[in-house]
């Protein structure tokens, strides 16, 4: 292992699951794939903690398990100490289990209820032939004391412990084989706040003592902030920003990171930030949006080059366009709700529903919009789509952003790519290479 090789490195890691299809789908050979992890590259240095945050369902747990080869990756490679472990045989993998371990979110379900603590921890020692007989018991005692439990706990069953104690057992179990790398999959989310701090401190102390490398998965930025050396933010199976906590918590930021940060509660009553509320829900990973996956909810989508928009106005029009394109507009209930009787009332109802002003400031955009609404009024999504055409397309809906250096952090967003600054869909920058630049409209 060369000195500059990180302990673990993933390249373009993908994990797609086949969706549970019904009988008819299988008969017709239709298959749907859930893209849980869709092309992730990351590296973790020895002794470092990488925090991985994101909303539930964004694929962060899958990243952890795929790194450990508990799930076979669909594509991509994982290097551990410089070796490609995706090619390992099951015997080699078993050896590898000594070096990489996993701590679970739910300590109750992650410990076999029918085994005593002694068996749960001892089993790991037995498989790898680490300790036997007297020294096995000694080692188990030592591990229990290391995580803050007493040796007398060894003969009890999991149901006799509290959640925090169970998580300590889970940690002792992971430590038993003296691993170099541990994936902590939301290890504190199921615990009380006071216990959370204890467990976080325990994990930190263990890292200092044994030089363990962590991948720390959490949905809460405030938890990761305290333990991670670097943080990666995930959205819909992709990493959108990576940086140290200081870099990540200060601009320039990915709009998603910004929204996540605004949701972190602060104990300061005088602190009154503008909470960014993201529109809508996370799109289905079955059929992720084109271009930048965040564009359906992003408050900072780049406006098209040839149209003039206020940011708010543009955001409203863009989300309307998304709904027209996906056909996700319940026209019937809309008519009922707004008591629509003729075409002009329909126009008003649509605009009100989407917070679109009565007239857009740009006449060209206004024309396209009213034409679309007219087509909808006649009940034709097809014609509405024709009317919209590619008028409201922006780099964000067409091109997939890639991670690039922006003042220290790595951000995957077109706002920081000079080629797309003016909003033209064609790559206007002469170089054709992504070039980093900080947008002025950002703050």
């Amino acid at each position: 292992m060369s000195s500059n090789e990180p302990l673990i490195r993933a390249e373009n890691l993908k994990k797609h699951y086949q969706n549970e299809s019904d009988f008819i789908d299988r008969l017709l050979g239709r298959q749907q794939w859930v893209k849980a992890v869709d092309g992730i590259s990351l590296e973790i240095e020895e002794g470092e903690t990488l925090g991985l945050v994101g909303e539930s369902g964004c694929g962060k747990s899958t990243v952890g398990r795929t790194l450990l080869q508990l799930h076979e990756p669909t594509d991509g490679t994982v290097y551990f100490k410089g070796e490609d472990i995706t090619e390992y045989s099951s015997n080699e993998l078993r050896e590898l289990r000594q070096e990489m371990q996993l701590i679970f979110q739910n300590p109750q379900s992650s410990l076999n209820p029918r085994l005593t603590v002694n068996d749960i921890i001892g089993e790991a020692l037995d498989i790898h032939g680490l300790e036997e007989g007297q020294s096995r018991d000694e080692r188990i005692k030592e591990l229990l004391e290391l995580v803050g439990l007493s040796a007398s706990h060894a003969n009890r069953y999991p149901h006799e412990f509290s959640g925090g104690q169970l998580q300590r057992i889970g940690i002792a179990r992971a430590l038993a084989v003296e691993p170099d790398f541990i994936v902590c999959d939301e290890p504190v989310s199921a615990l009380d706040v006071s216990v959370q701090a204890q467990i976080l401190n325990l994990l930190k102390d263990l890292q200092e003592e044994f030089g363990i490398t962590y991948l720390f998965i959490a949905h809460d930025l405030s938890v990761v902030e305290h333990i991670a050396d670097r943080i990666a933010v995930m959205y819909l199976g992709e990493i959108v920003e990576v940086g140290t906590p200081e870099e990540l918590f200060a601009p320039p930021q990915h709009p998603y990171t910004e929204a996540l940060l605004s949701a972190v509660p602060e104990p300061d009553p005088g602190w009154n930030p503008e909470r960014i509320i993201l529109e809508g829900t996370v799109p289905s990973p079955l059929d992720p949006p084109s271009g930048c996956k965040f564009h359906t909810r992003c408050p900072k989508v780049i406006p098209p080059a040839d149209l003039e928009f206020e940011q708010e106005e543009w955001r409203a029009v863009r989300s309307f366009a998304t709904r027209v394109e996906s056909g996700d507009l319940p026209l019937g209930s809309l008519r009922e709700e707004y008591d629509v009787s003729d075409a002009s009332e329909f126009d008003e109802a649509i605009r009100e529903e989407h917070d679109i002003p009565a007239r857009l400031s740009d006449p060209e955009a206004e024309e396209i919009l009213s034409e679309t609404i007219q087509a909808l009024e006649q009940g034709s999504f097809e014609r509405a789509n024709d009317a919209i055409g590619d008028a409201f397309e922006t780099p964000c809906t067409v091109h997939e952003p890639e991670l690039q250096q922006v003042e220290g952090t790595e951000i995957a967003c077109h706002l920081y790519d000079s080629r797309y600054q003016d909003g033209s869909v064609d790559e206007s920058a002469a170089s054709g290479q992504p070039t980093a630049a900080v947008s002025e409209s950002d703050d």
């Binding site: 050896e95 000594q98 379900s109 076999n112 029918r114 179990r173």
Partner: protein, 316 residues
């Protein structure tokens, strides 16, 4: 509470249940219309004096609770009186037939366990596979088909058409002969099919539930071979509910034997019971109903104890 204390407590609780069972048994039989004397004197011209004398002879003229106490005094000494229709002691009659029923019951139970548990495991582990689908179809059919019909069907196919199994029970040699075992296989399968279907589904669903739990992933992360993960972790935890239901199935197998023994003209206690009911032979009916009741109670007791033994969380 320790396991010993739990078992002791559970056994003590069984005693009032057993007493209740004797009362029910005796009471229900007494409620049936007509008594043995009616059956004996049927189609005969008998004077009321003789009738009265017969009733006195069998103690049928006493108040019901006296009859019950007399009977109970005998029962605790395993003396169920004499059969009215053929004058022999009831205990002797039952002991003659019991080995056959026990043979059939235990074979049925073995057939059930041997087929249901492995199939359930495979169906759960390879969810959606051909084996899974086949076991699903089998279970639906197995639960739906009445066992008297299945018995006739099996006789028709394997005894009448294919001649693999004998049509009638071997007339001599007792229960523990190879010929008897071969003959018992068809009735055993007939009785066991329903239980098999049920246990197979239960095994599958509780395996699937356990397979999805984190501790299974943890066992894999420890580096355990897949076989150990399934056998040591998943299987043992999923067996908890299966064992309980399997123990209760013992009761269904015993009661199922009544119908199946008639279909196969099998010389067990089931057929004895049906014949005795026809003859209003009170002492035999009471003894057999009580025997079946006690078997059911003991099966439940066994299920509870096994459950507590298997799951360290259960200690009441």
């Amino acid at each position: 509470m320790s396991l010993q204390r739990y078992v002791l407590k559970r056994v003590l609780v069984t005693i009032p249940i057993l007493i209740g069972a004797t009362m029910l048994t005796f009471g229900l039989v007494a409620l049936t219309p007509g008594d043995p004397v009616d059956y004996i004197i049927a189609f005969q011209d008998v004077s009321p004096e003789v009738e009265q004398q017969l009733r006195e002879q069998y103690g049928l003229d006493k108040p019901l609770f006296m009859q019950y106490l007399d009977w109970l005094a005998g029962v605790v000494q395993f003396d169920f009186g004499d059969s009215i229709s053929n004058q022999r002691p009831v205990t002797e009659l039952i002991m003659e037939r019991l080995p056959y029923t026990l043979l059939m019951g235990s074979m049925a139970f073995m057939v059930t366990l041997i087929t249901a548990i492995p199939t359930g495991i495979i169906a759960a582990y390879y969810r959606g596979s051909v084996i899974d689908q086949a076991s699903r179809v089998f279970s639906v059919v197995g639960i739906a088909i009445p066992n008297f019909f299945l018995g006739i069907l099996l006789l028709l196919i394997f005894a009448s058409q294919l001649n693999i199994f004998p049509f009638l029970a071997p007339s001599s040699g007792g229960a523990l002969t190879p010929e008897m075992a071969v003959y018992t296989l068809l009735p055993a399968i007939t009785i066991g099919t329903g239980a098999t279907a049920l246990l197979m589904r239960l095994m599958r669903s509780s395996m699937i539930e356990e397979l999805d739990k984190d501790y299974v992933t943890m066992a894999r992360a420890k580096g355990l071979p897949e076989r150990t993960v399934v056998n040591k972790h998943v299987l043992r935890n999923s067996l908890i509910s299966v064992v309980t239901v399997a123990a209760i199935q013992v009761a269904f197998i015993i009661s199922g034997s009544v119908v199946v023994e008639i279909v196969f003209s099998y010389p067990g206690i089931g057929r004895l019971l049906v014949n005795s009911v026809g003859a209003r032979d009170f002492p035999v009916i009471q003894a057999l109903v009580l025997l079946i009741g006690v078997a059911v109670i003991l099966a439940n007791l066994l299920a509870d104890i096994l459950y507590a033994y298997l799951d360290p969380r259960i200690r009441y």
